[in-house]
Amino acid sequence: MRIFIFFGVLFAATKVGACVSCGSATGAAVRAGILNDDFVRTLIEVAAPFPLIGLILYAVNRYLPE
């Protein structure tokens, strides 16, 4: 129960800041900056190195001596 109260107070406190989930004007601007039309494209670009690294790891694992 205490943990829920702790997080409740924490989330209430963050309302005064500019977090993504809060309702301030800055928060709304941040949300708009993240969840815009480029969201999926940016997500793919940020994630892009990791699938490539995965492929390289697969190749290394396949051709690595036992």
């Binding site: 900056g33 940020v46 892009a48 190195p49 490539l52």
Partner: protein, 183 residues
Amino acid sequence: MRLPVTRPLTRAGICVGVGLGGFVDGIVFHQILQIHSMLTGRLPADSLVNVEINMFWDGLFHVFTWVMTVIGLVLLFRARLVPEMLWSGKVFVGSCFFGWGLFNVVEGLMNHHVLHLHHVVEQRGESIFDVAFLLFGVLFMLVGGCSIRTARRHAMKPDLETLPVQYTASRCGRPASGPDVRD
């Protein structure tokens, strides 16, 4: 004689190295030095809104590095099931360095040079620091690869200290181990 197995340990080490290399980048460059963030090539960190948007994408980047680290730890845990495993610190640390270097090379090429999401020192744009980042990646891969090779070679060499003992024992008619099958 069966050769010791190193592949599962190497695989796990590379995954851990990729994850930890990503954390080094995120913690040192994004958070402590704050010389770039994930999207500073497009959204310069000159306002609170831009800083927070960059922080969000930094967080997602850290999610991916965290996932790589967890995959590495799972592979390491599973490697314990391989009976002939060579549990070598040199192989594991070498693999981690190889993974770190691999992360630097791939992330550096894609994010700094192809997609231009950010540069190592954002104020300078595409600079010598981006090249240095790649070179350190290649260096780490070479150091890691050499360390793995050396450890494997060392493990495959016959134990030279015990050879004369075995030879002497067999000359005296007492085999070092197992039954005498000469007759």
